[in-house]
Symmetry: C2
Subunit: 562 residues, 2 copies
């Protein structure tokens, strides 16, 4: 018999086999792992009435090799055309590749791939090298009515890359991933849209040596998917980074785009402001690949001054105090924190475990002072900017927190959180090996409906037996914030999972939240768009769709409800 305190499930530590299903659905770095810590593991066992025994045998692993035979629907002549455009080495008809670039990061896709269930896949994977190739491909597809899907980093959580209608998938991140110019004077960077976060950020952080600038810069946009998402993807899905309260969302950070559409190439200006009619740039923000392909981007950059960053953390007596303090900070006009994140009681409960605070002297002090488990709420934050600015933000945040009954936790929790900021998605695969699902759904709220949306959605999620529901708000505006729901369930039945997940989305919408704050809509929630926005707004999107893509070749199949 194993000592209970010593048992540790065999969390996966090896990279997926080449050619396996797991190598397709595994998130991020093939050699990157994040395991549940002991406290989380114990919590999961107790929630789901599991024993160590249940963690001895993995339910699904997806280690099987992709060994399916699916014919491409493209003719030999058509395939030849693509070959001519990009060269033989940049197309692939292999089922593995076609499946890989047809897959995103929804749990449903993971569950299917673990079970070797393969649905529609791309008819051809194409890796274009430059604008003229993208243009030729789009023109050819438009004439021949071949659907075009775009794959950037593949981190879509709503079937954004899923080729519902087959056709070709263009992988933009393979070649079209360069920094073209750093403009220090204007503080902008011009990039090819397929560039991923770390590549861009690394170049900017070292702009002095890379581009002979007098300062180093930062891109300001750090979504959880940072490591495996592209600048183009950030823009067309309306992404939001973990420091958005200070730097703004992707929609604020993009200054200009060049887009290949079936109707032609559109290049917008990059003036910081102009009163020359409705901005065409704006209609591409959130267009999710349905109007065209963003191939080049002018992006705002900011000074890289990590030496000025301040960290802070607080514990509040309850959710209401944490929300009140956050609102006061957001509306306080002393500048906004960069990282700015409050966790509801259940998430705080897990957060204190994850950040190693539970059981420490801090924890004892908190309890002694009346910050009770499953009531107390964690707030973590940082401030970016000039030294005088970050210092003042921290001082003022402390004042507001204290006024709302918050206890200062030093910089410790924020510093504990920071290094693992992009790692949470890695947890998913360990748990799913044992049939435990972690999924996230998120929405945006105004201050005056935050509590209603939180309560109703949480109540609904918790009405499912043995369900963990963690919620945080992490993108703050003067007028409101977002709510990010994480639910953890033990579920092996795909249909049952889908039904539950769908009901949560619908509950969010019914409760008065938006369909998404920063994940986008995709093909998952597309069917709710008309209900959510109303017929009249949808007609505008359809008119734009018709203009850019009269033959409906761009990301067809329900994306955005179009």
């Amino acid at each position: 018999m194993t000592d209970k305190n010593e048992f540790q499930p065999k969390w996966r530590e090896t990279e997926p086999k080449r050619g396996s299903f797991r190598s397709i659905f595994k998130y991020g770095d093939p050699k990157g792992f994040k395991h549940p810590n002991r406290r989380l593991f114990e919590e999961l066992k107790s929630t789901f009435n599991l024993t160590d025994e249940d963690f001895r045998k993995k339910e699904t692993t997806g280690d099987e090799l992709v060994d399916v035979k699916i014919d491409s629907n493209l003719s030999t002549d058509q395939i030849l055309e693509f070959k001519k455009i990009v060269g033989e080495e940049n197309i692939s008809l292999k089922e593995y590749d076609r499946l890989k670039f047809s897959s995103g990061q929804t749990l449903e896709e993971h569950m299917k791939l673990r079970r070797q269930l393969v649905g529609t896949i791309s008819d051809l994977v194409v890796h274009p090298r430059k604008k003229s190739e993208v243009q030729e491909i789009v023109n050819y597809c438009n004439v021949n009515k071949i659907p075009v899907y775009v794959y950037g980093g593949g981190s879509s959580v709503n079937f954004g890359v899923y080729p519902e209608k087959g056709g070709v998938t263009l992988v933009l991140s393979t070649h079209m991933n360069k920094v073209i110019e750093v403009n220090e004077t204007n503080q902008t960077v011009r990039v090819e849209a397929g560039i991923m976060g770390p590549h861009l950020e690394n170049i900017l952080n070292n702009a002095k040596s890379n581009f002979d600038t007098s300062k180093n810069f930062t891109c300001g946009h750090f979504p959880q998917s940072f490591e495996y998402s592209t600048v183009g993807g950030w823009i067309v899905t309306l992404g939001s980074g973990q420091q958005s309260s200070y730097y703004g969302d992707a929609a604020d950070l993009v200054l200009g785009v060049e887009v290949v559409t079936p109707t032609g190439i559109i290049k917008t200006y990059d003036f910081p402001a102009t009163a020359t009619g409705p901005k065409v740039l704006d209609v591409f923000k959130g267009s999710e690949g349905t109007f065209g392909i963003v191939i080049e981007v002018i992006w705002k950059i900011y000074r890289f001054m990590p030496e000025n960053r301040k960290y802070f953390g607080f514990i509040f007596k309850n959710w209401e105090s944490a929300v009140n303090a956050s609102r006061e900070i957001s509306q306080g006009e002393f500048g906004l924190p960069a990282v700015f994140r409050i966790s509801d009681p259940e998430e705080t409960h897990h957060g204190l475990k994850l950040y190693g605070i539970e059981g420490t002297a801090f924890d004892k002090l908190m309890k002694f002072r009346g910050y009770k488990p499953m009531e107390r709420c964690l707030f973590i934050g940082t401030s970016d900017g000039a030294a005088s600015f970050t210092k003042n933000v921290k001082q003022q945040v402390k004042k507001v927190a204290r006024k709302n009954g918050g206890m200062y936790l030093t910089s410790f929790p924020a510093k504990k959180w920071e290094p693992g900021r992009y790692r949470d998605p890695y947890l998913k695969e360990d748990l799913m090996d044992f049939g435990i699902l972690i999924d996230t759904l998120e929405t945006s709220v105004k201050w005056d409906n935050l509590h209603e949306v939180h309560q109703k959605v949480r109540e609904f999620i918790k009405s499912r037996p043995q369900t963990i529901c963690l919620t945080h708000a992490s993108h703050f505006y003067v007028q409101g914030t977002n709510l990010y729901f994480i639910f953890i369930i033990k579920e092996s039945d795909l249909k049952a999972y889908r039904k539950f997940q769908k009901s949560v989305i619908e509950k969010i919408e019914e409760s008065g939240g938006t369909l998404s704050h920063h994940h986008g809509v995709g093909k998952m929630a597309g069917y709710l768009m008309e209900k959510h926005l109303g017929k009249k707004q949808m007609e505008v999107l359809r008119a734009l769709k018709k203009h850019f893509d009269p033959n409906n070749i761009m990301n067809p199949g329900g994306q955005l409800g179009l």
Copy 2:
């Protein structure tokens, strides 16, 4: 013989006669006046080689009564329909009213009205009282193909309200001017779009007593036309206020709109962010009445904290230093000033006269320290926000200014500037009485083309003999700013004036500036839109136009180049 030092032209001090042309073109408050001071007067005489004698007799005054007979092109039945919708007291067929509400604030209109030249005027003026009336009118006009123009505050400087095709003019500011709700929690205000600046600001500044809120608020938007422009107008022309560097432009401040279009009513959400596809709200920003009529607006508001406002002013050795300092401030990440304004050498020369600084001890000190007339550049600013924030902004601005060779001028010039901030347009009429024209054209630039645009446009303006050209930048962004050109000429010939003005606009566009930073495009620069934005972007605007207004009844006749 009059003592030269005592002669003062008889600047107009009486309000225009009721029913006169002057009562139509006179800007703003009928009893409001601003006269050139002695120093400016002397400067004008010397520039234009005039003597006191030339200021004894006014050239045109427009004091004649509007006594024209212009038939309405609407049929009696049609007029009856409008009467039914809004009531007899809310329509007018009188030529005076039809002319008045067909007129904006371009110099061309002023010159014509002074000469009793009347072009196309509205066929009927209608003052709708509520949404359902606007809706009925638009529906009726759509079916009967009657052009619809909207008049808000009438301060358009590019023929935005000019009814090129006749039809009806809806005056939105007569009745549809209420504050509907102040939402303290979300920090938003819901208003009818016809509300003017002072009315809104006054209600917000006194929200505690008006709406029982715990704080007072400000609308954050203070264009020079503040007193005679409407919230709806701010949005559809992409306006920018004098404190925009801190509060943002109108496009940033609007959160939601309700718009009556020929295709139906569209109401957008008012979430601070949402990732649910391209935002329909965005396409109405800058739509200049060509898609529909904005009737209701959710507007962001900020805390009213005048007690925290800091004032500062500097003189720089030259334009380049002033620009460099401004860029460093804009990119410094310590928070932006609210008022933020730099004047080029020629404007500084006049500014120092206007603010009463010329000839003072300050002036002597400046000269002593090497800040030379016609080289030196004035910078004035304020900071808004929390006390700790405004204090820090001022401190940091001082540091940057000093580093760039700026001499601190205390709060004096900014405080001198502030009370007259909305009054400059009043100067126009005094000077035009004597055939002197002041006109303004503006553009937006990036930091890296600011100097080129400034030099080329200024050179062009100055190539006209006896022409004063003052330039400032007053709306700052991390990536650039605007340039606001004021030219003063002695010109009585309408055609010559138009030719010159048109050439300046074209020069701005050719030099790499946008057609407008915050005045909009109107029917004046509409013809340049396709050249400026390119065919592909114009096609997008045309597709939207076609969707919202298939019969082209909304502000037809070249507005926005549509």
